[in-house]
Homo-oligomer: 225 residues x 2
Amino acid sequence: MQTQVHLLHHVPLSPFCRKVRLTLAEKRIPFSLKEERYWEGGTEFLRLNPAGKVPILRYEGRLLYESQAICEFLDEIHPTPPLLPDDPAGRYEVRRLCAWFDDKFHAEVTANLLYERVNKKIMGTGYPDSQNIKTGSARIKYHLDYMSWLLEHRRWLAGNALSLADFTAAAHLSCLDYISDVDWDRAPAVKAWYATIKSRPAFRPLLADQVPGFPPPRRYADLDF
Amino acid sequence: MQTQVHLLHHVPLSPFCRKVRLTLAEKRIPFSLKEERYWEGGTEFLRLNPAGKVPILRYEGRLLYESQAICEFLDEIHPTPPLLPDDPAGRYEVRRLCAWFDDKFHAEVTANLLYERVNKKIMGTGYPDSQNIKTGSARIKYHLDYMSWLLEHRRWLAGNALSLADFTAAAHLSCLDYISDVDWDRAPAVKAWYATIKSRPAFRPLLADQVPGFPPPRRYADLDF
């Protein structure tokens, strides 16, 4: 049995940190959290991670960076329950969708909505740019439609089993749901998928997150939203 | 024996396309190239890839996207020679460094230098922004120093064997070398590493690339640069 407690340096509304939290919790790997104001830099934090960002996982004395690399590592050394399938084609599809959300969705939606509304205020880097908000609000529709199309053909995003692709997508969407930027009525299939993910024990701690100055809407933590 | 010829939709000076070309060639998977003016969009191209970007690999009748997912897929189904090691910690380190170059190096260096100098002109989206060029020129020094530090401790970037991390880094650096933006004198260890990669048969086709309007410097293709 695993008894050592690992430490995740994180911020609550980071989709990349949330992806690692979901993976650790789903695999029942005990860990504690330490919040980092990483944007303030400072030599102590840069000594932790020269890339100057979170998540950072302190795992058996080693520091691990990059959420996708961390999650695949955890999946390899704690294979139960699996978050990537056994066959190369299935694994390709999970990785493709992880990149879709961490690159494309992140650049088009997360950066334009979450970073404009929340990160700028917390980091003291100015006011939300209304053009970016407008772009993000338009692009999220396209992504919800794409997810709906995937879920018409599959039980989970990458196939018929829950995978890291679902956690990656849910990590982004949950941050946007915290700031009421997801129009669930547009995509009933995505809403049903998110309700299922939301009710997993691994998801509970994310629903209890509170960011000072940004109270979540009531339905954020509501399993019957 | 593999005899089917696969098709890679690409542009010559894309580090992501180059990474896939290097992986295919290293594994001696026969493929042909088709150049795409992906930024012009158009329904035919978007039908190929809804994400609207290259590389796209047509592989046994299937379309594959996202360079890292493609390369890991190719490594799994064509395991010789291996581009990821067998142990989870070694695989983590390769994936971490791939993300370092494809995310951090890409955003700080490739986007500020290559996209400003070349892509803007080819795509007709304006003139290079001198502030971005300045930022990119400053940041590449930091990355060359980081690579030097890695290569003081290891034969290859991620350990003692050639891996996808080396191809990822070389894909970015080779595009920047094409536009004379790499100060090799700053980092002799990186220069020696690049000379070794450059002399591999898999690298040859990249050295023959010619982009109209942007003739490469003579030393770009020179193995003894």
